[in-house]
């Protein structure tokens, strides 16, 4: 049993190590800085500039968070602070269901509804031309995918605020909303931040749903209606070719390692914060 546990833990480092080792050859050849900041991507010529993919990833994730965070906050506050226990139970089921839907289904739905919506209704409204396969589409689909995660964490964080604190505020004559604003939310700031960071890391790594709606076009997107090409999509789309071109495999492994590294760091920090909150609650 000890062996299994140690193996499982070691596993994390194994993945990191494995990916890193495989990316070494291209790092050695081009240098990490060049790889991260140039945007020339011509594998057959030996150019591997990740910049536009990194920017795409950030862009799409940014839009997703801007949409998802307010939505999740508002909903969680309502469910925990205002709604009856029956609604809370029912809503937990909704959240579970949403988080269980496979990414590929979100991709299908996104292609069927969000993409045409953007190209026919939204973009013309802003006088922009768009196929619909865009940063915005990716952002919207991602936002819906990460919302259940944020909500489930926020629900626990809000529940961890001691009842006495709310009562103290109300006993001083504050209304429910004032209590929520000035006490509950204030106490929950670390938890909210942790939830956001975790959601960002989830959004970074989402592959198939984004791939289906983002357009897979390499140039740096200039507006949210342009197509984009986040890193996971890059890896997924090109695995077939990577064996044929030298250094291509290494480049894609570097992409995977970058994802891995950032996500691990974000996860470790958020989880540590959440454990702290948990500890204080249990006391």
């Amino acid at each position: 049993m000890l062996f299994a546990t140690v193996m499982a833990i070691f596993f994390l480092f194994l993945i990191g190590g494995g990916l890193f080792v495989n990316s070494l050859s291209i790092i050695k050849e081009k240098g990490l800085w060049t790889l991260l900041t140039t945007s020339n991507w011509r594998p057959f010529k030996g150019d591997f500039g990740f910049a536009s993919y990194i920017i795409s990833t950030l862009y799409v994730t940014g839009i997703a968070i801007i949409i998802a965070l307010p939505l999740s906050l508002l909903t969680s506050v309502y469910i925990i602070e205002y709604a009856s226990p029956g609604i809370l139970r029912a809503f937990s089921s909704v959240v579970d269901l949403l988080s269980g839907i496979p990414p590929v289904i979100y991709g299908v739905w996104g292609t069927l509804t969000i993409v045409p919506f953007i190209s026919e209704k939204v973009a013309p409204h802003f006088n922009a031309l768009s196929t619909g396969y865009s940063v915005l589409a990716g952002g919207i689909v991602l936002a819906i995918m990460i919302t259940p995660l944020i909500i489930s964490i926020l629900m626990e964080v809000f529940l961890a605020v001691p009842k006495e604190m709310r009562e103290a505020s109300m006993s001083l004559g504050a209304t429910k909303w004032q209590t929520v604003k000035k006490v509950v939310l204030r106490k929950s700031v670390p938890g909210i931040v942790a939830a956001t960071v975790l959601a960002i890391s989830r959004a970074f790594g989402e592959t198939i749903a984004v791939l289906m709606v983002c357009g897979n076009f390499t140039d740096i997107p200039k507006s949210i209606f342009d197509a984009c090409y986040p890193i996971p999509a890059l890896i997924a789309n090109n695995y077939g070719e990577m064996m044929s071109v030298p250094k291509y495999e290494s480049a894609l492994m570097l992409a995977a390692f970058l994802l891995f590294f950032i996500i691990v760091v974000f996860n470790v920090i958020s989880r540590l914060v959440l454990v702290q909150i948990d500890k204080r609650y249990k006391l």
Binding site: A8, L97, P103, I105
Partner: protein, 279 residues
Amino acid sequence: MKRLEELFFKCLMIGSTVVLLSVLLYILFVVIEKGLPSLSWEMISQIPGGGFYLGKEGGILNAIIGSLYLIFFSVIISLMISVPVVMYLNFTLRRKSRFAAFARLTFDVLFGIPSIVYGAFGFTVMIFFGLQASLLGGIIAVSMLIIPVMIRSIDEVAVLISPDLVEATKSLGATNYETLKVIIRQLLPGISTAVLLSIGRGIGDAATVLFTAGYTDSIPTSLTQPTATLPLAIFFQLSSPIDEVQNRAYSAALVLTIIILILSFSARYFSRRLSKNKI
């Protein structure tokens, strides 16, 4: 003024809750609306025929069976690793052990790693061992993906089991093996929930199997053969320019969604039964 502000935010809050609910319903509605017309008995009982990708006969049985094989073996492997790990964390180590905390942190982090990374790593492992894209490759990748899910889920239940139970059993003279059986019996509902959750996670994931399982029109007969999977079936068919084929993608999506819904409800049902029987 205060009243206005409270009212305003209350409207926003209820509004966003409604939006979320509507989105879920909308997604289900679209999947059903698009998928139902093309769903037929042939779809789920036949493998692709000759001109399947050009719109002719056949079905997605290859993907359905492939996914089932894949998840079946992955779950078995995961169980073999997850259960001992959870047992160790909860019943051998002390509750407050630093090592246990560190282990749990690691597993939470592994839980958060996206499936594409598992796919890429699985691919590396396969190259290392000289494997081709195959059922085995897929199994390796999917197992890696669901082990953290399973550990987390079983652990959640295991922490609730009082350590007194173990001591009481041991003090009655039970051997280690018999104590194990008692604990596992307690854990059983939790394990079933974990299995259901892991199946839900693993069966619908495309990025893990993209590199590692390959794709084929037939049902694999050995571990070294490539296999089709439901998510990839949906993905590949969707990219086709032919309407017929796209419609099939939708019905495949519907099949997958139905499987997931059944799994979700069963998991909820089991976990509710579990909490009723808590000691």
